[in-house]
């Protein structure tokens, strides 16, 4: 649902964000901390618009910031108003929390004059704000799905108020929270990694276009890339630009990203001569695991490009037995039994490695050649 009833704080928070590129303290007592943005933006150069979504799970609205010219979703934010209590004294905390479009935590900021404080009423130091920013960015902290009381064992409930619990920060829990601010950390972490995160991710997933996928693949954060690769469907269109991004990742040094990108490619995408040729170009210098994944992917294509056959044929006598066997299985799968290929394979029959020569023999048998015919090929002068 789109709403236009933005209040001044909302707008201020939304626009404040544009000046934040990294962890920083802004002037005029406004505190802002952030992590790397999935899609970098510059508010001065790039006009934006804000769309509000009514959050059915809470009274707070969720706002999407988009670039005005390209309509690209940039990030989401939400203004949270919550009670923070220490020693039976509660005060209202106002904080804006930001999410990247993948649902990953982006940052938080506090309106002018607002600050975070600890159990002993002391305001957070800059280091403690940094620590909070890091903790909120860690999706693996075991702070979710568990009540605060259960988390801080043994619970020391000196009164009905929260401050008693905040004081029960045990050694184990103290590694997961800002010291003296267990409840604040716990509360904010659960907001960051709560239902809003799933809502944001799901909104973006529905909007994924080739251009948006490509933008996310260019994120400086690996988890964003893995997130979007996991969302690729057989019907997703691989534009030339997107294909290039995929190929860069597969050829890159990050094994897990290459692995994820190859897993993301569906059979429908492989019916492209261009993609096949480029994948095979990567194959030549790739790690053995990636090589095998490339061959497995090509097995699922509905055809094998003639260019790939010619290029791969030239490599046959340089491969180890396992690589050769895998490539010849690819030929068999795509019914590649032309004369040039048969002759190229036949040259391997005399290889001194019996495992290698057997791969060649098996292929020729699969090409419906008889043993005498194979013997003739073996002894032929090439």
């Amino acid at each position: 649902m789109i709403s236009s009833n933005l209040n001044l704080f909302t707008i201020a928070a939304g626009f404040l964000w544009w000046s934040i590129c990294s962890v920083s303290l802004t002037g005029h007592d406004q505190l802002s901390y952030s992590k790397k943005a999935t899609i970098a933006s510059d508010s001065e150069q790039q006009p934006t618009s804000i769309i509000a979504y009514k959050d059915t799970l809470s009274e707070d609205s969720l706002f999407l910031v988009k670039s005005k010219d390209s309509n690209t979703p940039l990030h989401y934010f939400k203004n949270i108003t919550t009670n923070v209590c220490f020693d039976n004294e509660c005060r209202l905390l106002r904080v804006a929390i930001y999410w990247n479009i993948t649902g990953r935590y982006l940052g938080f900021d506090l309106p002018e004059g607002e600050f975070l404080s600890k159990r002993d009423h002391q305001p957070f130091s800059p280091d403690e704000y940094e620590r909070l920013n890091d903790l909120l960015a860690d999706p693996d902290l075991p702070l979710g799905g568990i009540s605060f009381e259960k988390l801080v064992k043994p619970p020391v409930l000196t009164s009905d108020s929260i401050d008693g619990i905040s004081g029960a920060t045990t050694k184990n829990v103290s590694q997961l929270v800002v010291k003296g601010a267990a409840y604040t950390t716990y509360t904010l972490w659960n907001i960051v990694h709560g239902p809003t995160q799933d809502f944001v991710a799901s909104k973006t997933e529905k909007q994924l276009s080739p251009d948006l996928i490509d933008l996310i693949l260019k994120s400086p954060d690996q988890s964003d890339k893995v997130w979007v690769l996991d969302k690729i469907k057989p019907t997703s269109i691989l534009t030339q630009r997107l294909t290039t991004s995929f190929l860069e990742i597969i050829a890159g040094d990050d094994f897990f990203l290459a692995y994820s990108a190859l897993n993301a490619l569906k059979s429908s995408h492989l019916d492209s001569t261009n993609l096949q040729s480029n994948l095979f170009a990567i194959y030549v210098n790739a790690d053995h695991s990636i090589q095998r994944m490339i061959i497995e992917k090509l097995m699922k294509a509905s055809f094998l490009s003639p260019e790939l056959v010619v290029r791969s044929r030239a490599l046959l006598d340089t491969l180890n037995g396992k690589q050769l066997g895998d490539l010849l299985k690819l030929y068999i799968k795509h019914d590649i039994h032309d004369q040039a290929t048969i002759e190229a394979v036949a040259k391997i029959l005399k290889n001194e490695n019996r495992f290698i020569s057997r791969q060649a023999y098996n292929f020729l048998k699969d090409s419906h050649l008889t043993d005498p015919e194979i013997e003739v090929l073996k002894n032929k002068q090439y």
Binding site: D140, Q222, V226, D254, F255, F256, L257, Y259, N263, D287, H288, S289, R292, E296, N320, G321, K322, G325, E352, N353, R354, F355, I356, R358
Partner: protein, 449 residues
């Protein structure tokens, strides 16, 4: 006439007594006899466990005639029969350190099981969270398939009982179910884990007075860990209840929350011979039975049931060889690189003490240990290598080296050395190390540098 007819009828009676009553289609089987045969091969790998399986595949793929003998019924050893279907560690500090055939098997298991690999780029807070859970049944099938593809002659249910080195060849006699086989080979790779063949051949092997316990792996069900009131269950049972939580093998996040199986310790577990191995299995089984009966007496555990039990007690430590070089704890924790380092190893020093505590020493950032060829060659041996936990090392280094990925790396390295030694009609210590490294690289292994 009377006498003759009497004898004739007696004969008929005795014949009738000896001959079985055969129904139509049945034939009388020949009496059980031992089949004797003589075989020749280039490489003999003894033991089809973690290291031996990889060694055999590497030898076969490098073109050597290879026989693999395994006293059990399947390949994979600790990963399959022992149930530690959680091999590691292939990655350290965000990079892959062990590749090759072992990693190929793991990747194939993960793919064929529809699983996902963990994200190795992210450093886990606990070392074992980089171990990759595999479907042990699939591992068994794939390991065998790869051996057969490499034309490895697998001989299950066989074990060597004597060997001699004569005229530059090893002559090994094995016994199995109804078989007695003499295998003549050029090179031996002892992957028994117990340095059994090295000892039989007369090379020095070492053993601690007190060895680490083995583990019998199982899974239990019928309870909900989250709803247990642990204050009402004695603390010593918490581990076994907690370490049973991974319900499937899909890795969608970077970490496991728990080690994916439960186990009971088996003090002094020794798989060296039938008697000691039988004892280790019996001891583990009776301990487990007792445990289950005890667990069922606790609130929330009344319906605990045993869901699966591995065939054998997995063994951590028995014998190790006295090699040309003995890897020390210091070598390990400092990540010493040798000229003849052929494989990496990454795991903390991890000594299970009397089954009550574990002594651990973690490697410092960016430190990865390496294994030199000389630690795989028994001192004064010819044409003989070992791979796996019997690697020449002191006790603390051994407690880290014994893990699966390291053993896989050793298996591949030993096989490459054996194949080249065979090719050069030489012994592994005389093969140019660069040649071994080159062969390993060609087969996807990662060489320490």
């Amino acid at each position: 006439m009377e006498r003759r007819s009497m004898l004739k009828s007696l004969g008929a009676i005795s014949l009738g007594m000896a001959a079985p009553t055969l129904a139509k289609g049945e034939v009388l089987a020949a009496p059980y006899s031992i089949t004797k045969q003589e075989l020749e091969t280039d490489i003999l790998v003894v033991g089809g466990g973690t290291a031996g399986t990889i060694a055999a595949i590497q030898a076969g793929r490098a073109g050597a005639r290879t026989i693999l003998i395994e006293s059990g019924s399947q390949l994979g050893g600790t990963t399959t029969t022992g149930g530690v279907a959680f091999p590691g560690i292939f990655h350290a500090w965000g990079k892959q350190i062990i590749g090759g055939i072992g990693w190929e098997l793991v990747m194939d298991c993960v793919q064929l099981n529809g699983d996902k690999l963990p994200n190795f780029s992210l450093l886990p807070d606990r070392h074992w969270k980089h171990q990759v859970t595999v479907n042990a049944s699939l591992y068994t099938l794939l390991a065998e398939e790869k051996c057969l593809e490499a034309d490895v002659d697998i001989r299950y249910y066989e074990t060597p009982h004597q060997l001699e080195f004569k005229a530059g060849k090893w002559r090994v006699e094995t016994v199995g179910k109804g078989t007695k086989t003499q295998i003549t080979c050029d090179q031996i790779i002892d992957c028994t884990g117990n340095a059994l063949i090295a000892s039989m051949a007369g090379f020095n092997v070492l053993r601690e007075a007190d060895t680490q316990p083995g583990s019998l792996v199982f899974r239990i069900g019928g309870y909900n860990y989250d709803s247990l009131d642990l204050t009402k269950i004695p603390k010593q049972y918490h581990r076994v209840l907690r370490q049973n939580m991974l319900e499937h093998q899909t890795r969608t996040s970077r970490e496991h929350t728990f080690v994916p199986y439960s186990y009971v310790y088996v003090p002094g577990a020794d798989s060296t011979n039938s008697e000691s191995h039988t004892k280790a299995n019996q001891q583990g089984r009776s301990t487990l039975l007792k445990l289950i009966r005890e667990l069922r007496s606790f609130p929330g555990c009344e319906n605990v049931r045993l869901e699966s039990l591995k065939t054998e007690t997995a063994v951590r430590e028995t014998y190790r060889i006295e090699g040309i070089y003995k890897l020390t704890r210091l070598d390990y924790v400092e990540g010493k690189l040798f000229e003849d380092s052929l494989s990496y190893s990454f795991y903390p020093i991890d000594l299970h003490r009397e089954g009550k505590s574990i002594y651990q020493e973690f490697l410092k950032p960016n430190i990865v240990a390496s294994i030199p060829l000389r630690a795989l060659i028994p001192r004064n041996s010819k044409k003989f290598l070992v791979a796996g936990r019997c690697v020449s090392s002191d006790r603390l280094a051994n407690s880290a080296l014994r893990v699966q990925a390291s053993c896989m790396g050793m298996g591949q390295a030993a096989a490459a050395a054996a194949v080249l030694a065979n090719k050069h009609e030489s012994t592994p210590s005389e093969v140019p190390v660069d040649e071994i490294k080159q062969l390993l690289k060609e087969h996807g292994a990662i060489i320490p540098s």
